[in-house]
Amino acid sequence: MAQGDPRFTRVVSVFGGRHALRPLPEASALVSVARAFTPRVEASAPTPVLLDLSGLGRLWPTPQALGRALLDAAAARAIEAQAALAFSRAAALVLARARPGLTVVPAGGEAAALAPLPLEHLDIGAERLHLFRRWGLRTIGDLARLAPVSLAARFGPEGPRLARLARGEDDGIFVPASLPERFETTLELDWPVDGLEPLAFLLGRVLEPLCASLAARGVKAASLAVELGLADGSTHARALRPIAPSGEARTWRTLVLLDLEAHPPRDAIVRITARAEPSAARATQFSLLDPAQPSPERLAETMARLHAWTAEGRSGSPHLLDTHRPGAFAVSTFAPPPLPRGRREEPLPAPRVALRSFRPPRLAQVLVKGGTPAFVSAAGVRGAVAACAGPWRASGDWWDVAFSREEWDVALAPPPGRASAGIFRLFLDRLRGEWFVEGELD
């Protein structure tokens, strides 16, 4: 059949209907039959199912052959369905419900095909159907023959819509349902594999087609679930979620291997299944003047190599908490944000003295003379106080009305020949009556 055959242009089929003789085996059964013919399927589960058959003229000699194949495919799955092929969605919907078997309507023949059908087949509601019967209308053709202007005078904007429906003209558009996205690859091994080195090659065979299918859809994998079927019959499941989606098989293979190094399976592997969760591909506008931003794949690999630190929550970006409590901070996952515009115009503050914290603060013995510390003794910190500044009272806790923390900066007296023995921050916990060394000022 020639390409672009007019018999297949804008053909819409309705499949199934209220005259289906038996309940469907499952709600999606008819949809899966329809998807075997075209990916453009509009479904109101379980029925009716609409198919956009545009372009199928290259595959099927006639619309009748296509319709018959549809019914045969449904019958093969024990579904007694009805189908109608028409050039309008509205006509196909009504005809598939009203006529058994297969109905094929030629282009422009929608009104004629609908005309002999009883009005009950139109989806217009019981109240309106009763009214039309009182008017003496029995068939869809009777309604189609009424002047749209007269219907508009009686029903408002609904009147012309009813007239169009009776003539089989479309009022809505075909809205295909998106295909369920499932990215999964399984490899059954002929013999069990033990060890990560041979597994690396096999992972490549699983992950490369998986990433190719992701790339074909223009998406990347936000996470990857790997299930390893083991020789003892159990399954070793791992889930990986790097900081940025990736569509590179090499990166995923490295991440999986690094993860399996840390969490090895307890037996030889007989089956590998990889399942990706798709995510929209990242679109980044690079700048001519800003430094190149890190590749998310390489960053994910690097963080995976630092597994010993990340697993124990000992790595990440620090950020300060919104509190006055001294030393309050949290560490979050390292995910560098995009470069803020104009940030580099802000001047940097002058280089400052930094605190080298002791965590936890070191318990100290402090000799106080004249209200100021005179001698400090703690683990690694010992000496007479040469100079000090303080005290300042601090607390970040609203219930602590006494401001229980009293801070001092003390410079210890240097030994002969040295300019300094260190400057330390001390604090007195007034509630416990104990001194602590918080850190060294450096």
């Binding site: 010993a308 620090p318 940030r343 940097l348 914290s357």
Partner: protein, 250 residues
Amino acid sequence: MSAASLPAAAAPSPAERKRLLEDLLRVRRLQADAPPLRGEDRRLRPLATGLVEVDALLGGGFPRGALSEVHGPASSGRTGVLLALLARTTRCGALAALVDPLDRLDPASMAAAGADLGRLLWLRGPRGASEAPLPKALSEAMAAVGTLAGSGLFDVVALDLAGASHERRRLPTTTWLRLQRLVEGTATAVVLVAEEHAACGPGGATLALDPGAPRWSGPPGPARLLDALAARARAGRHAGRVAAFTLVAV
């Protein structure tokens, strides 16, 4: 002169436009605060700390592709210099990493130095490491520095070993050679902070710090504050050049 008498402005030719654009980019590149241009060989630009005296002493900053060190006793300004370097690097949009096996970093000090904390990767030692550093923590830290330096993602990878002199001496001497080999030819500067000279690569910088007297805001009393910390820096393996610098405390 009236507008009518002005000669008609000719549109610049493509070659002229290209030359103007290159001039503009060159000027931008010469600005001290400008980040390196995309595609520019970043290995040519040392990493400045923002401390004018120290940068002048180091010939512009810490060299890339080499192992450098900052060493000095307590309160000599080692951490202040390191945080200034990390702050300047992250504020330019680059990434920096700090491996801190003794868990001594104070994030408030880091933020006060002006760092973009979201661009800093902090690897902390185990809980209580500042009390008694474990040899295992140190070897883990060295492995992490190798991973970070080899990734090519970070402009600065700093390793803070101040306070772990005893454990550091137990590390095999080949550790530093391996690290230097790893970072050679990359755009990453590895900076080691220690209490005394530990290691420095052939192209790296050694910055030895000596503490000066602290400066207080006034006479002893309740309103007194630590005003600044003065220190003296010596650069080079044989400490030939000397400069004094100050870190503000208030």
